[in-house]
């Protein structure tokens, strides 16, 4: 008996089983490779496609342009600048927190009304009627030299409106 034979006898696998296992391992490796290939391909695209518009800080305008109790759309920042009746500024994202539609301000009703599923939001972005699960997101507002500046880099989520979310002069 040769060396190899004894070793095979020790493992108790025949030649055919041995090769079948090799094919199985190779097959699984190929599957894993293709899976990894696909996922890395898709994931790289996701990272590469970060928003091309690096808006950063948007100049909304002078303080005097915004009267208390009004809402002004600022298209270049994709947000609304709401001036609360007490004079505070609040930058509200125009994206509905329910399913991402763009919410227009309805002057007559004095509310944001979502055209997709009918959620309504108050001047402060709070939910008046569902199905939206939380108030409109906000962006940080600063006031420099009488100009209102909004940092659009990242929207802030919130569960309710609190007075300190608004920026006062």
């Amino acid at each position: 008996m040769s060396k190899t034979d004894t070793r095979f006898a020790g493992f108790k696998i025949g030649r055919r089983t041995f090769f079948n296992r090799i094919w199985t391992v190779l097959g699984l490796a190929a599957l894993a490779e293709f899976g990894w290939l696909g996922i890395s391909f898709l994931a790289s695209r996701r990272d590469r496609n970060r928003p091309e518009r690096e808006v950063g800080v948007v100049d909304a305008g002078e303080i005097s342009m915004f009267l208390p109790g009004t809402v002004t759309a600022v298209p270049q920042g994709q947000f609304y600048l709401a001036r609360l009746p007490d004079g505070g500024f609040l930058a509200l994202s125009r994206t509905c927190t329910h399913l991402g539609c763009s919410v227009p301000w309805d002057e007559e009703k004095g509310a944001f009304v979502c055209p997709c599923h009918g959620s309504t939001f108050s001047l402060t972005g709070e939910v008046l009627t569902g199905p939206a699960p939380r108030p409109l997101d906000t962006y940080p507002v600063r006031i420099e030299n009488g100009m209102v500046k909004v940092d659009c880099a990242k929207a802030r989520r919130r569960d309710r409106f609190l007075a300190e979310q608004a920026t006062r002069i």
């Binding site: 928003p51 991402g100 539609c101 055209p115 009627t129 569902g130």
Partner: protein, 432 residues
């Protein structure tokens, strides 16, 4: 000449068995729905190949290339209309085919795997419809996709990841369009073709369509050529004629070019998803977008695994008695859905948001109510009314589809601006 004709006959015979049981060629057993689905799929492949020549999948050119179909290419818009009409009809036919299969008891032992494959095919048909919806890059497309991508995000654990992969980035853009394009013209049609062949083969292996086994008497079999072939040709050609005719008058919609800053009012999903959209108006998004579809899908998938859940094969509703029960179930389900929509509409007042407790009030409570109702109905039918399990399952299925139908009809015709309930003749809605 003789040899080639022989070859054609052989090819047809190879796709079919040589003979089929006589009762299965009766039109009113199958209504030819499976065959219709095949014909529509064929039309979709043909017109799709033509459209592929004209369409350009980039943000800048997509809308213009669809618009140009109507202007620059002779009969181009007709081709698009045929594609659109076939796709919409296919969604209807596929669901009816599923119902036919269930209501004639054709998912029992020997056909279980094929039921599962059929469900897979339905998912692919809906996915194909939906991915195609985005490609024109008009307002309709853009916002329907925005809403559905946001809905994906509500799936627990992997929702955001899934959304990122399908969307190809944090925002809807070129990557999304490319993804949907590849899915629509390569991945889905390819998978559909493989599953279709498997579907046919399993029908053949199960001995053709479901038929009644009449007490030991051998079922008479008749040759496929010409009996079945002639019937298939009659149904298929009539359907082709109907679709071509329909496509002359029913224009595929094309709104203005997509504008990420302005959602149309009302924004509606494609009609086959408006039942789902109606749920989104009433339930917490996690339940409307994930829990309920998941439960519904799981129920359909597990249906054939329950022993004794299939009706006696080859007879609609199992028996004359079953037919009555099905009518009651459909009526009951429809009434329930109308009542629920109206009641919730009356309840929804300003100030009642979907706040922290919404997960319970608009999620767990209605879900438990539906499960209790289903369990109670089952118990009543089986224990009190002495019906078989198969009949109770059939009643549940019929009621479920009646509810889905009502929700879809409400969504399509009775929802106007800001998704308020309106009469269809007052409304401005409609996305067909």
């Amino acid at each position: 000449m003789k040899a080639s004709r022989q070859s054609i006959t052989d090819f047809i015979l190879h796709l079919h068995p040589r003979t089929v049981p006589y009762p299965t060629i009766r039109f009113r057993l199958s209504w030819g729905l499976g065959g219709m689905a095949v014909v529509l799929t064929g039309l979709l492949f043909l017109t799709g190949a033509l459209l592929l020549l004209a369409y350009r999948p980039t943000l800048e050119e997509a809308y213009g290339s669809v618009r140009a179909l109507g202007r620059d290419i002779p009969l181009g818009y007709w081709v698009r209309n045929i594609h659109h009409a076939s796709a919409n009809l296919l969604a209807v036919v596929a669901v009816l085919h599923l119902l036919r299969t269930a209501l004639t008891g054709a998912f029992g032992p020997g056909r279980r795997l094929n039921w599962t494959i059929g469900l897979g095919l339905l998912v692919f048909v809906l996915a194909a419809n939906f991915t195609g919806y985005l490609l024109p890059w008009d307002q309709l497309a853009y916002w329907a996709v925005t809403v559905s991508m946001a809905a994906l995000g509500y799936i627990p654990l992997c929702g955001d990841w899934l959304r990122g992969v399908i969307q190809g980035g944090p925002e809807i853009g070129q990557a999304t369009l490319s993804n949907f394009y590849v899915l629509h013209v390569a991945v889905i049609p390819g998978s559909l073709l493989v599953l279709l062949l498997w579907h046919f083969w399993l029908v053949r292996r199960a001995g053709g369509l479901i038929s009644t086994s009449e007490g030991g008497e051998p079922i008479r079999r008749i040759p496929v050529v010409p009996n079945l072939i002639a019937r298939e040709a009659a149904v298929g050609l009539s359907l082709v004629a109907f679709v071509l005719f329909l496509a002359m008058f029913w224009n595929a919609p094309l709104l203005e070019q997509a504008n990420p800053g302005m959602s149309p009012n009302p924004t509606k999903a494609p009609w086959y998803f408006q039942g789902l959209q109606e749920l989104l108006l009433h339930l917490h998004p996690v339940f409307a977008a994930f829990v309920w579809p998941f439960l519904g899908g799981a129920a359909l998938l597990l249906l054939p695994l329950i022993p004794g859940s299939a009706l006696p094969g080859g007879v609609w509703f199992g028996s004359e008695r079953g037919r009555g029960l099905a009518a009651w179930a459909a009526g009951g389900g429809a009434l329930l859905a109308v009542a629920a929509v109206l009641a919730d509409n009356a309840l929804r007042q300003p100030g009642v948001g979907m706040a922290a407790d919404a997960l319970i009030a608009r999620g767990i409570v209605p879900t438990s109510a539906v499960i209790l109702l289903a369990a109670g109905g089952y118990w009543l039918l089986v224990k009190a009314a002495n019906r078989t399990r198969a009949e109770a399952v059939m009643a549940g299925l019929v009621a479920g589809f009646a509810i889905l139908t009502v929700l879809t009809v409400v969504g399509v015709f009775f929802r106007g601006a800001e998704m308020h309930l309106v009469w269809p003749w007052h409304g401005t809605g409609g996305s067909l």
